[in-house]
Symmetry: C2
Subunit: 306 residues, 2 copies
Amino acid sequence: VGTIALATTGAAGPAHAAKAVVEKASDTKKFVGAAFAIGAVAGLFGSKTLGAGTEGLATGATITKINEVFPGALPNKSLVSKATKALKKYDYGSDSLIATSFCADEVNRCLEAELGKVFTDNFSMGGLAGFPFGGVTSFGAMAAHIPDGGSCLVVFGPHVGVDSAGSVGTVERRGRANGGACCGSAVAASGYVASVLSGDTEKAKPPADALDAQQSFVGSLLLPHAARLDKASDKMVELPYALYDAQKEMMTDVVTSAAGAVAGSGKIAVMGGIQINTPPGQSDYYLPLSFEVYDNTGTKIEDLTL
Amino acid sequence: VGTIALATTGAAGPAHAAKAVVEKASDTKKFVGAAFAIGAVAGLFGSKTLGAGTEGLATGATITKINEVFPGALPNKSLVSKATKALKKYDYGSDSLIATSFCADEVNRCLEAELGKVFTDNFSMGGLAGFPFGGVTSFGAMAAHIPDGGSCLVVFGPHVGVDSAGSVGTVERRGRANGGACCGSAVAASGYVASVLSGDTEKAKPPADALDAQQSFVGSLLLPHAARLDKASDKMVELPYALYDAQKEMMTDVVTSAAGAVAGSGKIAVMGGIQINTPPGQSDYYLPLSFEVYDNTGTKIEDLTL
């Protein structure tokens, strides 16, 4: 099973603990075979990036679930349009630079493509689960690339799939009968933190080398939210909200540490939220949860609304 | 100065050591002001991704230098075309998945866009300087996204700018009078390893938290190449070759550790090399240095040639 393959590539302890969670998420997939097969026949397995803007809004059980558990989520196109309008008061234009911090998963490229239509190519601060693992150095580098006199927009967040049956934590994937966990890194980390909470696994030490350091950090950064996930009525819904909180904290640390690398009166707009991946042919969504503007002393100037 | 801003966001020791190297790289920029201004007037500061395929080959001092110090480098479009042809014998087609491991820098998105024309959206394993910091877990997740019955192509590498005056380690950037270091993370790390080699800085301990772990790992992974960089007649040329060697070692560890996550007879093609960023209006290049095909036991089947 594809989803298990991910879990077993990690350390033995966390992988074992994650297995139950992953299987729980996968069970729901059994009900969506029919809907998925229709998608396959209709040839809807293309890239959302290449077809950006041509797909329709989410439909059926997918949009019903999104409205229920991620109220306020916007289709990518609408998000970018509203964000661009909100930033006009700070003179964001062709001298702006976009930085993203999204998960490695290819399903997240379509939001970068939509942002790219306004802001051109994105600097990429993100790593597994969407954490800004490029860190303080990546922010400094990005700031040194802002066009003269311009500002930057940083967009970050975890991602979560909502499939055509309305199941959260999985999504139909291009050419696959089994969509699997989405976000896989997050689901594996949630298994690790559950296992530490129950006492089955010892808290991992900081990684000594780079080979799988990132997933280790995803686990340690999610660990403060273990009890909250344990109590949640739907762990797959609570997981992206918990990851957002962990990422917001790290991103604020990064921005306030490195804000001085932005030149002159350049602004730092930081939007955080949850990316929602939907079936092929439907637009992805993004639930904005914060939209702050900082100056280059790291002082927050304003909370923007969309 | 923009290039210094990057260095000073890192740890004090390495940043100080890096300063001399960065300034050396920047000195050469003084000679290219005129050429750069011409680019600005001509309005050539658009995104290479949005105009992918419309820019011409590299010209003048840029292509002369590329041919001298990166012989065998191919324009991105030609690289993707040749790689696609070479992979046909392994039935790479619409059931393939592309994973990249490139640096965070936005100048590297155009190669992802070119690869995306054939392979659709890319999974992103990369972090600062191009190391596959998503690690073993990211490979496992990527493998679980390959379309049923398909294979994956992993393309990795450091990047280096060659500007319109033929200077290596810097490149003109959209809307900026000062291009600055390219790759900035690599130049900062080269300063750190030079300082450890000379005894001015102590070797850093593994990072205890995630906030700037990635740049710390870039430094420690480059450290075995400190003497080689010290002896090089042109450090800015030797740096991407040294980084390639370090990344090849890490990528091979990742692939052989996690190959089993690829289903059935799916293949793992791994291309490594050096991305070469050029001025606006000119195609970027890539120097392929290895192109290996593995099966899902982690056994190498073949060295492909382009």
